[in-house]
């Protein structure tokens, strides 16, 4: 099939040759997306680049940037009587201040891992005597589907379905990194699947407001190398443009149907990100019209005193300030089997990606 060419080692080699020829100065790029971090580690892309070309992992792991307080509240919701928690798999293993959702489930809470938010709506229909709460975690890729689940619950007349929205918009997260000025970047590898929804247009603020090159990338090795080559070329030429190296799936305007549904249900609110603190208008709150589906309104969220896992440096990792090896727990007290922090739980977390593909030899 045509798409196999995006894994073709010959093509990858050829792009790498270009990158080596074009990279005339040291440069550092951040891959925003944790899916890219995973692929970059899996395919060993860092080791193939010229010495001066560095890649830094960014905050694009939704579970990782979820604040400790949000995680604790989600776990606390699971312990309310008559509640079924529906969630994507990653969330159940994230350590809360005192325990995980998985441990809450072992102690009797009803926690169901679902593939789709639509499955959570079906759960609500199947259990009219229970309250089903879906844990809404994810960026613009995921939020439209969760929004659609609310519209569906409303259309089906289900009043026992609610979501706890921890959804976040990606551009404010990227701005927060650049505004903080802690890391010096020469360009950004834009998240492919987020950009399917928000389009290349969603990233034009980077060249406009920060003179920062951005290239949207897909997830195959050739896709990622193409984006790096485009970034290297922009830097070598002194340009700062928004480019799309994933045009088979990403358009300039994004997905209008998905954007419409997302915007119908959610509105920007201030939100807390692990490692960043509060970022203005970076969270997706349910609009007032949908308050009946808002778990944060419907249920009294207990105010748990939250504390991040002792010693975990996930927050700095998410800002691109350190790499997983800098964490003293990495590969020792903290492994994918016994994760101490969210960056080791999720496949998209930098710690998990480094552990799985590179740093086994500690």
């Amino acid at each position: 099939m045509l798409l196999d060419a995006f894994r073709d080692p010959q093509l990858a080699r050829q792009i790498l040759n270009d990158i080596h020829a074009l990279a005339d100065q040291p440069m550092t790029f951040m891959e925003f997306c944790g899916g890219h971090t995973h692929a970059i580690m899996q395919f060993g892309i860092r080791q193939l680049l010229p010495k001066g070309v560095r890649l830094l992992s960014g905050p694009g792991c939704p579970v990782c940037v979820t604040s400790q307080r949000d995680i604790d509240q989600a776990i606390a919701l699971a312990q309310l009587p008559g509640v079924i928690i529906a969630t994507f798999g990653d969330m159940v293993r994230v350590p809360g201040t005192s325990h995980t959702l998985q441990q809450a489930a072992a102690a009797g809470a009803d926690v169901r891992i679902v593939y789709s938010p639509m499955d959570a709506v079906d759960l609500a229909a199947a259990h009219p005597d229970r309250q089903v709460i879906f844990l809404g975690v994810g960026f613009e890729t995921t939020a439209p589907g969760v929004a659609a689940s609310i519209l569906q619950a409303r259309a089906r007349g289900l009043d026992n379905y609610a979501i706890l929205s921890m959804h976040k918009y990606t551009p404010p997260g990227m701005r927060a990194i650049l505004d903080a000025g802690e890391v010096r970047l020469d360009g950004v590898i834009g998240p492919g699947h987020v950009s399917i929804i928000i389009g290349l247009d969603g990233w034009r603020f980077l060249p406009r407001d920060y003179a920062m090159p951005v290239v949207i990338a897909g997830f195959e090795p050739v896709d990622i190398l193409l984006a790096i080559r485009a970034l290297v070329r922009q830097v070598a030429r002194g340009q700062a443009r928004a480019e799309n190296a994933y045009s088979r799936s990403v358009t300039p305007q994004g997905n209008p149907a998905a954007l419409a549904i997302m915007n119908q249900v959610f509105e920007p609110v201030d939100a807390d990100w692990r490692g960043f603190g509060r970022i203005p208008t970076s969270g997706m709150g349910l609009r007032a019209e949908f308050r009946a589906y808002n778990a944060a309104v419907r249920f009294a969220l207990p105010d748990v005193p939250s504390r991040e896992p002792p010693g975990c440096r996930c927050g700095e990792m998410l800002r691109g300030v350190i790499e997983p090896r800098a964490c003293p727990l990495f590969g020792r007290a903290c492994t994918p089997e016994r994760p101490q922090g969210p960056c080791m739980v999720s496949d998209e977390g930098a710690c998990a990606a480094h552990f799985l593909y590179q740093d086994l030899s500690l």
């Binding site: 995006f6 270009d18 074009l22």
Partner: protein, 76 residues
Amino acid sequence: MCLAVPAQILTIQDDFLAQVEFGGIRRTISLQLLPQAQVGDYVLVHTGFAISIVDPEEARITLDLLRQMSDLDPDD
């Protein structure tokens, strides 16, 4: 979490539901976020929703450009 997997649409039912095939595995997904999708299209599926049509023409253009643009001699 932002993972999306390509699948081909086999049939489209009412209510935006479609049967798709991911490398041999069949599944029902929603086309609510991609109402323009047609039978035969390759789509990227994320958490049970098709979110984009994989455009074979664009894929071909990228690959063609790639083959042409690599005009730098790797040895220089």
